[in-house]
């Protein structure tokens, strides 16, 4: 008989849940994870990681198609969708196995099944688990962390059917690549798929209900991205509503309204990427003090739900829906539970965001508009890729880095980047924000030459009218 009594039960083995479990084990808590599908969750199996594998393929393919620009001759370039998808799945399963190993290494008990809060037993919480082998087991623990994640949002009339209308899941494992594609929604998920399929040769239309693509990013980044996508041959429709999907045998005719004018377009496939909803159903929240608002569990700064000894982290606990936010929350909630001293609540403005379209987008902190709305006096700097030696050498002269400072205190309020490899650069500003550096320290930092990171320096200098290379 397996052990059923624990210090901590984590419901969900995604990036939030498994990281929370590892931290708990490190702190000496006897820990269990209940996972209904596969360790690593959406991120690792159906999100961040396999899409990065696909996007790497499209990046290499894109480069090969431009081989001549680099002095190379490549003939008869072709690809095999099956192999591309295979590679992506292999990457995902390799990492998922890695997470299972980490559970073993940290002596964390993993239950394959679904879990529900099932009241209390004295001072302990009870969790009923329906295992995959159809048996049931009741676990007890002092504390429970809900890390059940989220799933694609389904809009009425635009529901994914898995065949003609895809969610991210089908879009990741297509039996064949569509010749034409409509992507509904231009957030990170939508635009990454749009970017991938466009590079692989599909006619791609993106319909965004807001007035710009990547609506959470700085307006200048959105504008630059739109131009770049259009240059690649993408069709971008903003302030656009998709009202109807008429399904044919092997195609879909969508009605899109822009500025009061309706138009119809016919495409092979549609990807619906209109946001996500939290997985709050069937986890035993009924009759508890756990509050759900807009499909997400309401928590305080320590992840506490209001129900004694029940916490929530990650996507199910609300935006931003990012794996690294979930991991960080997992750690801080566990440390709080374990009584570690000096634990700090998370600062949302210090969480970076990355989108892996071509060109890449990365940002942290306030947009210029948001900073202005706070009534702050600003210093804003911008430096273009065209002014950077390494960018030119790479053949990636498109993009810019923008930094926003509080003119009074020198606080780095936000940074916004678009261009090659910016997702690898943004961490520099994350560290700067966490350490509360001002423009002075950033200016005094030596950035290596020749690197793209020099633009991070130049952007700061530009904010104070001191840029060197432009």
């Amino acid at each position: 008989m397996a052990e059923t009594s624990f210090d901590l039960i984590v419901v969900g083995g995604g990036p939030g849940g498994y990281v929370a479990a590892i931290r708990a084990a490190q702190l000496g808590l006897k820990t269990a994870v209940v996972e209904r599908e596969h360790m690593g969750g959406i991120c690792l199996n159906w999100g961040c990681i396999p899409t990065k594998a696909l996007l790497r393929t499209s990046e290499v393919y894109g480069l090969i198609k431009h081989a001549e620009a680099y002095g190379l001759s490549v003939k008869d370039v072709s690809f095999d969708p099956k192999k591309i998808v295979e590679r992506s799945r292999k990457v995902a399963s390799q990492l998922s196995n890695g997470v299972s190993m980490l559970m073993k290494k940290n002596k964390i008990t993993v239950f394959d099944g679904t879990a529900q809060l099932a009241g209390t037993d004295g001072a302990k919480r009870k969790v009923a688990v329906a295992l995959k082998d159809r048996s049931n087991v009741t676990l007890t623990a002092k504390d429970v962390i809900l890390a059940t994640g989220a799933r694609a949002r389904q809009l009425p009339g635009l529901e994914a059917d898995g065949k003609l209308v895809w969610s991210y899941k089908e879009a990741m494992v297509p039996p064949e690549f569509p010749k034409s594609l409509l992507v509904i929604g231009s957030g990170a998920i939508g635009i990454e798929f749009a970017s991938f399929y466009r590079t692989m040769g599909a006619e791609v239309t993106v319909a965004e209900v807001m007035d710009r693509v990547l609506p959470v990013e700085d307006a200048e980044v959105s504008a630059f991205a739109k131009k770049a996508f259009e240059k690649q041959g993408m069709k971008i429709l903003t302030s656009a509503t998709v009202s109807n999907l008429k399904k044919g045998a092997n195609n879909v005719t969508a009605t899109i309204t822009v500025g009061g004018k309706a138009q119809e377009i016919t495409v092979d496939r549609v990807i619906s990427a209109v946001g996500i909803v939290g997985n709050v159903e069937n986890i035993g929240l009924e009759g508890t003090k756990v509050k759900v608002e807009k499909t997400h569990i309401v928590i305080d700064q320590w992840g506490f739900t209001g129900e004694p000894n029940v916490y929530a982290i990650g996507d199910v606990a609300g935006p931003p829906w990012l794996a690294h936010k979930a991991m960080h929350e997992g750690v801080l909630v566990v440390e709080k539970i374990a009584g570690v001293k000096g634990v700090h609540p998370m600062k949302t403005e210090n969480i970076p965001g990355c989108t892996y379209c071509q060109p890449q987008v990365a940002s942290i902190g306030l947009t210029e508009a948001a900073a202005k709305a706070k009534g702050l006096e600003l210093k804003v700097g911008k430096f273009p890729f065209i002014g950077n030696g390494k960018a030119i050498a790479l053949g990636e002269p498109e993009g810019f880095i923008k930094t926003i400072f509080d003119a009074k205190t020198g606080e780095l309020l936000g940074a916004h980047m678009i261009g090659a490899e910016v997702t690898e650069l943004i961490q520099g500003y994350s560290i700067a924000k966490t350490l509360e550096t001002t423009e002075a320290e950033l200016m005094a930092t030596v950035f290596p030459h020749p690197t793209l990171s020099e633009m991070m320096h130049e952007s700061v200098l530009a904010a104070y009218g001191r840029t060197l290379h432009i």
């Binding site: 009584g339 570690v340 001293k341 000096g342 700090h344 009074k408 205190t409 020198g410 606080e411 350490l435 509360e436 550096t437 001002t438 002075a440 320290e441």
Partner: protein, 432 residues
């Protein structure tokens, strides 16, 4: 995680001290703010408070131990649930620690030094606090604190390892009293108490007067001097009849130049001449070596509405009395209106403090560090003295020289006074 309790530095120059007394024993539960032990230096005993709560797991330095290096682990505090001291936490007996990283030269740079330190032998370190221990604060927190006029030393940091971050400064009020956060604090309760003393009770009708920056600098520098400089005192009576006669004669001449030489001006000149004769007294102590000054620059204490300030008569040994008199009047009047330039009160190798005009007969002054001597001048008055077996009336001025024993020994100090006495009692010698 167990927490190490470290030997605190009670002043910037302190490198070691005596663990005078333990107030707790192994196994005791302590609260944050509770006094755990007393540390002694030459001049002061300070109570050390726990900054965290927990149980005393281990006491590593026994009561009565002298020469405990600053930052050495003196005890280990266990947090709730811990039962034993992790081995790594206690670098026990190995007579601990890098002997204080702080060199005396690393004096806290203060915004408006009121009294006049001699040119520091080494460049002053940036930042830092009134306590002298390094304060960890984020650059943004420092910037905001500077703008709002908040003393970081008064804040408790909420960041990692107590680092002061933006939110701590934003929540602080300008002029927040320095007290808390650092370990060597003296029983800090509501109204910040005097160092090492009893708490101050504020009753209705009492008023709270915020410290001016000059007051803070005076407090810090005087405390530092009294606590870290081994003072000794030499008192001498000067017969000043000849000096008064000379002054009258001199003034007949200089009054035409629009000034009038005071007794104090003549004391300045006499001290300057004596210092020229005794260069070993015109000096400062540093850990590595003695600094003997080439120039004779005399700081003169001037009382102002805002507090004490010590403008400097430079190269006083080379100046005539009229010149000294004119300069002194100018410096004093600008000191009173707060218009001295930094270089006019920073530096100096010797200080004169004169309370004669208030009828003070004799007093001992606190050395104006890093100088080695200060002369406290009392009132010149007619006293009955015995000369050649007869009682006669003479004008006598008593002076007390306070001396830093690290720089100047008793006999050296006495010889300096002998020389000074010769100049004052036979003022014509100053012309030599």
């Amino acid at each position: 995680m167990s927490i190490n309790i470290l030997m605190p530095a009670l002043s910037p120059t302190m490198t070691e001290g005596k663990l005078a007394k333990w107030h707790v024993k192994v196994g005791d539960t302590v609260k944050s703010g509770q006094v755990v032990c007393e540390i002694e230096t030459d001049k002061a005993t300070m109570e050390v408070e726990a900054v965290d709560e927990g149980k005393i797991g281990q006491i590593l330095v026994e009561e009565g131990t002298e020469g405990v290096a600053v930052n050495a682990v003196i005890a280990v505090l266990l947090e709730e649930g811990e039962t034993e001291v992790a081995k790594s936490a206690a670098p026990a007996a190995e007579k601990p620690a890098p002997k204080a990283e702080e060199k005396p030269a690393e004096k806290p740079a203060s915004p408006a030094p009121a009294t006049a330190p001699a040119p520091p032998p080494k460049p002053a370190a940036p930042a830092a606090s009134s306590g002298g221990t390094r304060i960890f604060a984020s650059p943004l927190a420092k910037r905001i604190a500077a703008e709002k006029g908040i003393d970081l030393a008064g804040l408790k940091g909420s960041g990692p390892n107590g680092r002061i971050v933006k939110v701590d400064v934003e929540n602080a009020k300008p002029g927040a009293a320095p007290a808390t956060s650092q370990a060597p604090k003296a029983a800090a309760k509501a109204p910040a108490p005097p160092a090492g003393g009893q708490p101050v009770f504020v009753a209705p009708g009492d008023s709270r007067v915020p410290h001016t920056s000059i007051r803070k600098v005076i407090a810090r520098r005087m405390l530092e001097s009294k606590q870290t400089v081994p003072h000794f005192y030499l008192t001498v009576d000067f017969e000043i009849d000849a000096l008064l006669t000379a002054r009258t004669a001199i003034n007949i001449v200089v009054e035409k130049k629009g000034t009038k030489v005071s007794v104090n001006d003549m004391v300045i000149k006499a001290c300057a001449k004596a210092l020229r004769d005794h260069p070993e007294c015109n000096a400062s102590w540093t850990e590595d070596e003695m600094i003997q000054y080439g120039a004779v620059d005399i700081s003169v204490a001037v009382a102002t509405d805002r507090g004490l300030i010590t403008p400097i008569v430079r190269n006083a040994d080379m100046k005539g009395l009229a010149q000294i008199s004119i300069e002194m009047k100018d410096l004093a009047s600008r000191a009173k209106s707060g218009k001295l330039k930094l270089e006019e009160f920073q530096g100096g190798g010797f200080t004169i403090s004169n309370l004669g005009m208030f009828g003070i007969r004799d007093f001992g002054a606190i050395i104006n560090t890093p100088q080695a001597m200060i002369l406290a001048v009392g009132a010149g008055e007619e006293r009955v003295v015995v000369r050649k077996g007869e009682m006669v009336v003479r004008n006598i001025m008593s002076c007390t020289l306070a001396v830093d024993h690290r720089v100047v020994d008793g006999a050296m100090g006495a010889q300096f006074l002998q020389t000074l006495k010769a100049y004052i009692e036979q003022p014509a010698a100053m012309l030599a």
